[in-house]
Amino acid sequence: MNLAGYLGGLKAKFLRRAESDAEIDAELRSHIALRADDLERGGMARAEAERRARIELGGREKYKEEMHEALGGNFMSTLMQDVRFSLRVLRKSPGFTVAAIVTLALAIGANAVVFGVMDGLILRPLNVPHAESLYGVPYSNNPTWQSYPNYVDLRDRNRSFEDLAAFNFSLGAALDTGKDAELANGFAATGNYFDALGVHPYLGRFFHASDQQGQNSAAFIVLTYAYWHSRFESDRNVVGRTVLLNKHPYMIIGVAQPGFQGTLQFVSPDYWVPIVNQQELGGGGDPNDRSNTGGVFESFGHLKPGVTPAQAMADVDAVSAYLEKTYPKQVAHQKTEISRVGLSAFSSGVRAFVAGLSLLAGLILLAACANLGGLFAARAADRGREMALRLALGATRKRILRQLMTEAVLVSLCGGAAGLIGSMVLLRKLSTWQPITGAPIHLPVSPDAKLYWFALGLALLSAFLFGIVPVRQVLRANPYEIVKAGSTARQGRSVTVRDVLLVVQIAICAVLVTSSLVAVRGLMRSLHSDFGFDPGNTMLAGVNLATAGYSGDQVPAMQRRLIDALGTIPGVEAAGMVNGYPPLVYTAGTKVSVFKVETSDLKPANAAALPYRYDISPGYFAAAGTSLLAGRDLLWGDNKNAPVVAVVNRNFAEKIFGSVVNAIGRSYKLQDGTRVEVVGVVENGKYQVLTEDQQPAIFLNYLQSPVSPGYIVVRSKRDPQQLAAAMRNKVRELDSGLTSDIQSWNSLLQTVLFPSRVATMALGVLGMMGGMLSITGIFGMAAYSVSKRLKELGIRMALGAQRGEVLRTALGKAVKLLGIGSAVGLVLGILASRVLGYIVYQATPRDPLVLGGVVAAMALLGLVATWIPAQRALAVDPMVLLREE
């Protein structure tokens, strides 16, 4: 039905009501007239006869209502009556109404935000056709066997995928349009990438498998719609233009559809280049090396019709087992999980986190409903006299309940609308949020119709939850008793539904407060824990020489010049370089297999350890603040022509050689058979994520295995801003075409701290909301009990009660309920916080500070909440009170 028709129907309903109202009146008038005629005939005066006739007719309004009901279809008009009446009632107590709406707005808003995030990350399928059958071999933190040659074998040998495509993160490359070079982030994709996904270009064309004719053969670039829009100002003539990527010419062949951003939900790249060209751009390592797992991030494809994920998994496993058998030296077969494409290796973590959040948000809503249920019950009790009058005047209990429900629904709809608006603002902010500077990560959240329905559903659900609380009260109410005695006279039972609700609510809030304190404390500790290096007072300069066209032996030579140059900046205490990423930056780390010298069959299964490998320059440890436990640092003399040497961490030394002292001078073997002599041992540290168990690590000299991207670590107590400027100038002095990414180590640590930060932030917000809810809950309860018992308090005071006794009488119950609720919540919170340990490093609830904090917080909340009622109780003037009534 269209809107005009609907409104027309609505109007007709009201008109019919007015019409039938007139007719009903006419009929009842006629009845009274006829009856009066009869009575008059019996000798009664006309006026008396009419009065008599009206009395005999009975409850006129009641019968009129029943006649309307008998006519049917008066639902709308009853509803409008209820709505009008509810609005009047709510307007009469604005404080209550506003408090209720704000409470609900917060609770529903929190749930809507969590739902929006869940929808964006988990519920919504990828923006590609038939995303439901798209499965992939995800990236994982464990070393995998996914290298480019292995990918090619898997693509050709599997029988489960329609077509298997793959991509890799291309390191940020300098994209030069002729005017200026700017860092852009892209994916290096296999030729069949777009075809396997079944997507079509917005402009121009995509590259295909046929475009790849061997290494560095396809200098094409495809732009994302967003990047084309921002960098090229939506210029439709870009197709066919050539841009410089790391100084190599690439032709723009197409622009992707708006909204298409590849297969990772939370990453939005700027462009795609063919994977066969990634080495030229300085990424991916050796594409022909089977053990180089840096070449492919993830491979994926549509499952063939009828193939289940389990069958595909078995198939992939079989292929990788075959690869291990064929290339025992390069491939270590790992049990492979295949999963839906979208969240990659973070799938389970993200799911657990979002599930946890929704649970907490649900608890908030429950607490809010308990809170409002208590308030509504208290109001219903206060309005006992009104209800009794209405019952006595012939209203049915059903009608009264219906009106109370209408009130609840009105309040919750207002709250829901406010919450929805707030959550939409927040979600829009989230979608433009760049949590990690320099990384193309964003949350794909966009509020849509689903969110509106969700909020509406929550509003109705909560209206039902808190609206139902006073029902029993109304059903049991005896109008005659109440009208006779007044609503204050009856003392309720010792434990009421309201009390239980308050305890539940406080318990929930205490859970939230506990978890947020645990998370905050965990985050604080992880910020100050021992990383094995000191990120304070350091500045990192990310320099990728490939972007400026360096290759071969030029690379280590230029890197040395950079290190030396940065080391000469006044105020710099030490400078050193690490290839790839420094520890704890972008959760990146490379693990390698090492073997004991006596091992001759160097297949991965025989590896003695799987340490993180760093290629560093001499002076790195001094710059990083890592202390040397034994032996010596790497030297400039340990170059290509010298024996290969390494510094190892304590864990590695103890694992392989038994002790720190034993390790010096001993050797181990790398995968390619190189013998490496240990010349020094450094302290243990964290390498990839904060939650990792202690891992072994080896540090080799970068001169003996040069790679072009790296970070130069500069230690200085100078002002970071000035230092960064000085460093940028130094780099430009050496080569004006070289871009450098200069940030403090601490700011780069935010990647590893990101999960803890987000968890802490979310829990902090929820904890605060929990706190606020418990304040309003206790306040409502305390204020109500004081106002109910003002008279009693007045009498007590008149009889000489002390202030303390008055307070105990007035607030004793509120405080007792607060205590019980807090205790229950604290215990539950401690249990719940174990889960937190997986996300927030060092989150432990068994921390006296946390326990004390929770108790203090709840006590403070109680104090704040009972302050005003307590003042009111103490300010009672017995004379005034007793004079009343």
Binding site: L28, H31, A33, L34, E56
Partner: protein
Amino acid sequence: MGDQAQLLPGTLDLLILKAVSLGPLHGYGILLRIGQISDSALLIEQGALYPALFRLVRQGLMKASWGTSENNRKAKFYELTAAGRKRFREETESWNRLTAAMSAALATRAEEV
């Protein structure tokens, strides 16, 4: 008005149908007719009649039209529809069966068991 019996639930409708089956009547007339044919033994609250009338009209058993009463008052007259007559016959039969069975049951004496 001493010896009046409360109506059994559901019997009001049947009484109204009976009253109206004898000829079109307005609401007050229906009350009088019920009083007359039941010898004032059945008590009906006056107002309660009207919701029942409306219900019966809505069910299509009666139809109503405005007219003028014998003493020249404007009044709404009710009469049975075809469906109403059919329903009245059925209800009367089932009522008779029920009362016959009830009377037989209540009239049973000890020696007959």
